[in-house]
Structures are given as structure tokens and as C-alpha cells.
């Protein structure tokens, strides 16, 4: 451990996250990882870390963190009204904190999640190859839980990537994080629903429910009736699946989802839009736009290409 960070205030729900732990499905372990991996990757790039270095994921309200040593940090994702000794800290701008300074991260202005990326990355013991905190299973991260007052987290050695001269175009960022419309493909049980339900999904505005978290986002708006009454047998669920409960409530299954489930899935958020789901707040209004699998894959490839251009090196 090269240096450390002291949690003075943890914020509403702050946890260590990286890009997750895929590959352990046969053990019932969810891949998990950052709810908005695009912000985490961009933040890591800005401070010269590898894309998958661990950072702190803050939710709606951030915390206060003290750095005993000189440290380079950046806030990535939503603007959480951050400051150092009263001076405003903008997201996406790396700053150097002097030894003993504290970064205060406040309340979100618009979206749900803000990442604190530290040059060198947050250091915690890897569990199944990942630093991510799996909150429902109490695995990984810092003692398998959200951060608390007084926690001291290690910061790793910087890997040699540069910080100087790195900037992100604000317009490009706006495009990446537009989140009023989520594009969806058909889910594995789409055929079990009536045409009306599919139409309702694409023509209704939904509100993100209050009981939404990293496991899933409950949607309020139309109830989506299942046409056929076939019996569903539990099966693996993909990230971003829109499952419908027996009372017709759609739920977007998210990063800390259960690995298998017995509810029918009407649709699935496309890969290019999953990070936007991570920025949705309770009461946000969203619409769904059905697209073909081919189009969804194209959008993802374009977006990854675009991210590659944003983060040269």
C-alpha cells in the first residue's frame, strides 16, 4: 500500500467497485461491479490508472475523505457538488490534494452515481479476481460492506499512466450519459406477452420507483400483463433484463442481481445503455425504445469505438 484514505463521512451508500467478477456464475456469484462502468473507466483514464482499477462508488449523496499524503484524484460520473476547503471541485477534472486535505462530496445535482478515482487505485484484497463489493452477498470490497466512518482504505502504487493534459469534451460526455430513453431488445419470454404489453413498454413513460438499488430498478407506470400462462422454470438472468412480476410490475435487473430467477423477461436493456441505468435516480422518468439485436450490437460497437477515441493511449 503506497498511501491511504480515511473515511470521515461515508455518504448514503459508498462502496469499492471495479469492473466486476464475471466467470463465477456456476457458484451462484453475480458479476457485479460498478453500476456505471463507463464513468469508472473514464475516471481511471483521467488519473492514469488501468481501466479496471477500483474506485469508490457513491450514491445520491457522497462522503468526505481525508488523504494523509499528497494524492491525485478525480470525480467521475454525476456532479455531486464537491469541494476542497470550500473551493468547488468539478467532475472530470483531476486534482492534486495536498497531504492532510479533505475532499467533501455533497449531494447529486442530477444523476445517481459519482465515482472517486484515486491515482494508484483503491487497494482491497481481491475476491475471485475482483475488488468489487457484492453488497447482498457481503463479498469482496472493503469487508464485504458499504463504507463507514473511520474506515481506512489503502491506495496502490501508480502504474505509470500519465495525468497531464487529459481532458474530456463536455458535449461528448452529455451524449454518453443521455438517459431519458433506454433502448431494449426482446427478452427470452417476449413471446409469452400480448402485443399490447410490448406496445405499452414502448409507448408509456415509466418512473423509477423509490425501492430501486443495485439489485434492480422497479418501474411505475403501466402494468404489463402476461398473455400466456406457461409455467416458468428458473433460469439464468442477463444484466439489464426487464422482468415482470405476477402483478405486472416491470423491474430492470441490475449489477447486484440474483444470478437466476423465475420471473418472465419481456425485454433487455442494450449493452450500450447499461451504464445509463446506473445513473437513474428514484422518480426519474424514462421511456423504452425497442431495437433489433443487430442494431443493439452496432450501437455498442460504435460506443466502444467512441470511448476508445475519447481515451487515447
Amino acid at each position: 500500500m503506497a498511501s491511504s484514505l480515511l473515511v470521515r463521512e461515508p455518504g448514503l451508500l459508498t462502496s469499492v467497485q471495479d469492473l466486476g467478477r464475471p466467470g463465477v456464475g456456476p457458484l451462484g456469484v453475480s458479476p457485479g461491479g460498478a453500476a456505471d462502468p463507463v464513468s469508472l473507466r473514464l475516471g481511471n483514464w483521467l488519473v492514469g490508472n488501468p481501466a479496471g482499477a477500483a474506485g469508490l462508488e457513491m450514491t445520491l449523496t457522497g462522503g468526505t475523505f481525508e488523504f494523509p499524503d499528497t494524492t491525485v484524484v478525480v470525480l467521475a460520473g454525476a456532479d455531486f457538488n464537491a469541494s476542497v476547503e470550500g473551493a468547488t471541485i468539478e467532475p472530470w477534472r483531476p486534482i492534486q490534494l495536498r497531504a492532510g486535505q479533505s475532499l467533501r462530496v455533497g449531494r447529486s445535482r442530477a444523476a445517481a452515481r459519482c465515482y472517486l478515482c484515486v491515482r494508484g487505485g483503491i487497494e482491497v484484497p481481491l475476491v475471485m479476481g475482483s475488488a468489487s463489493t457484492d453488497l447482498p452477498s457481503k463479498l469482496g470490497g472493503f469487508e464485504g460492506r458499504a463504507l463507514r466512518v473511520g474506515d481506512v482504505l489503502g491506495i496502490g502504487e501508480a502504474s505509470g499512466g500519465t495525468v497531464r493534459g487529459k481532458k474530456l469534451d463536455p458535449e461528448a460526455l452529455d451524449r454518453l450519459f443521455e438517459r431519458n430513453v433506454l433502448r431494449v431488445t426482446r427478452g427470452p419470454q417476449a413471446g409469452w406477452f400480448s402485443g399490447e404489453s410490448m406496445r405499452a413498454l414502448s409507448e408509456t413513460a415509466f418512473r423509477v420507483g423509490e425501492q430501486s438499488d443495485r439489485q434492480g430498478l422497479r418501474l411505475e407506470g403501466a402494468r404489463l400483463a402476461q398473455g400466456s400462462k406457461s409455467r416458468m422454470i428458473s433460469e439464468g438472468v442477463s444484466l439489464g433484463a426487464i422482468q415482470v412480476t405476477p402483478d405486472g410490475t416491470p423491474i430492470i435487473l441490475f449489477v447486484d442481481q440474483q444470478t437466476t430467477g423465475g420471473y418472465v423477461k419481456l425485454a433487455n436493456v442494450i449493452s450500450a445503455d447499461l451504464h445509463r441505468v446506473g445513473q437513474l435516480r428514484p422518480r426519474d422518468e424514462i421511456r423504452f425504445e425497442p431495437v433489433s439485436i443487430a442494431r443493439a450490437v452496432d450501437r455498442y460497437k460504435e460506443q466502444e469505438h467512441f470511448l476508445g477515441e475519447l481515451m487515447p493511449e
Partner: protein, 233 residues
């Protein structure tokens, strides 16, 4: 029984995942195909597939859409399914789960007994008399979905799931039984508890149970539970 091409069904679950179905019902031979397929994938992974999630009749493959298209994955699946017959499965492990069916450890035992017109002791005895098979691990780390519940014990889930089920709780739901590895919300009816740690990330075999295991529940009294719980820590 070899798998016929009519039984194999594949569905695009998302723009980066494919569901492979080996049957449409919870049956032992379907389970065997799932197990063989997962075993073959361990030996011959499909490059670009990031996660494999077996279930009762299906396996979900999650892949990198920058490297693979659905048709590539489908082709790789068919190639492996054709050779499933040649996959030898190891003899199932025989695993025992010491379980206390008493008092506070079994909050739903009395109600299950009432629903099925039995004495509570009869429910415990019958549950501990059967041989169960682990169909897959899912839901949360180390949660084993087990089939083989005696039909006399089949009971639907609770109408309202509990907000917190204690770690080690032994539950039943419909024709399945399972053990909750961590404290979690849950809707299965709890008829006992084991002191064993069902999942630990810091040991070699993280999950106490694995797919294909043959499992028996062995009744223990509360004092033995306390003794074993001390040892498990």
C-alpha cells in the same frame, strides 16, 4: 439418453447473451445434459464467453459482443452439444448437512405440518429421509437448488417473503429444498437450520455444495448445533 436436436433450443436473451435450453421440464436427464455441457465448457471454453450460468434446464452464456456474434456462439454450442455423449461425469459426491429441526431454527415447521396434515416431527423425519440432488447453484453465492423433495412435503412459497432469513436456514418451496448461505430476504418456508458455512470466499472449495452432489440432511439436537457452530467459526 443422448440429446436430440429437437430438444435443444437457443434464445437470444440480450445483445450479449444466449440461453441454451436442453429441455422444458425439471428432469434428471435434462440436468445431466446441463452438467455435461458445463463440464465440457470448463475443458473447452468458448473464447469470448465471459460467464456461464447453469440452471434446471438451461445454461445462460454471457459473451463479449465485440468479439462474438450470437451465430458464432450458437455454432460453438452445437459443436459441443454433439459431443455431450462422450463427456464422462464424475461419480456424484455424497454430502451430509447436519440440520437442527427444532424451535427457533424452524419457524415454518409447524405451519408446513399443518398444511400437509402431519405432525411437525413427521415433517422433519421425512425431510431427513430423502436423497436430494443439487441441480445448480444460483440466486446468491452457494445457494443450491435441490430436487428430490418427498411429494408429501411439497408446499408453496410464503405469500410474503421474509425480509431476512438467517444464514444456514433450510427451506422448502414447491418440490425443491435449499439452504440459505447468507442472511438474505427469502420466500421459502424454513423448517430447519445447519451450523455449516455453506459459502466462504476464503477457502479452497468456496461453496460447500456443488452441481450434481447427492445430499442428505442429518437431524441434530440444538446442543450439537451449538457445538458445530463454534467449530465452523
Amino acid at each position: 439418453m443422448p440429446i436430440g436436436s429437437s430438444q435443444l433450443r437457443m434464445e437470444m436473451a440480450s445483445d450479449r447473451s444466449l440461453l441454451v435450453y436442453f429441455g422444458e421440464q425439471i428432469e434428471l436427464h435434462t440436468h445431466e445434459h446441463v452438467r455435461k455441457f458445463v463440464r465440457l465448457l470448463e475443458r473447452e471454453p468458448i473464447a469470448g464467453v465471459r460467464n456461464v450460468q447453469p440452471a434446471y434446464c438451461s445454461v445462460l452464456l454471457d459473451f463479449d459482443p465485440l468479439k462474438l456474434a450470437h451465430r458464432d456462439v450458437e455454432r460453438a454450442v452445437r459443436d459441443r452439444v454433439e459431443r455431450l455423449d462422450k463427456v464422462a461425469l464424475p461419480a456424484p459426491r455424497k454430502v451430509e448437512i447436519p440440520t437442527c429441526y427444532d424451535g427457533e431454527f424452524a419457524p415454518d415447521l409447524v405451519q408446513v405440518a399443518r398444511l400437509r396434515g402431519m405432525a411437525p416431527e413427521g415433517v422433519a423425519e421425512l425431510h431427513a429421509s430423502a436423497l436430494y440432488i443439487v441441480y445448480f447453484l444460483g440466486f446468491v453465492p452457494g445457494f443450491a437448488y435441490m430436487g428430490g423433495l418427498p411429494p408429501e412435503l411439497e408446499t408453496p412459497r410464503l405469500a410474503t417473503p421474509r425480509r431476512a432469513v438467517a444464514a444456514g436456514s433450510v427451506g422448502i418451496a414447491d418440490n425443491q429444498t435449499g439452504v440459505y448461505p447468507v442472511a438474505t430476504p427469502g420466500g421459502w418456508r424454513i423448517i430447519g437450520r445447519t451450523p455449516l458455512a455453506m459459502f466462504r470466499a476464503d477457502r479452497e472449495n468456496m461453496s460447500y455444495l456443488e452441481i450434481g452432489d447427492h445430499v442428505r440432511f442429518v437431524p441434530i439436537p440444538p446442543d450439537r448445533f451449538a457445538e458445530l457452530a463454534r467449530g465452523a467459526r
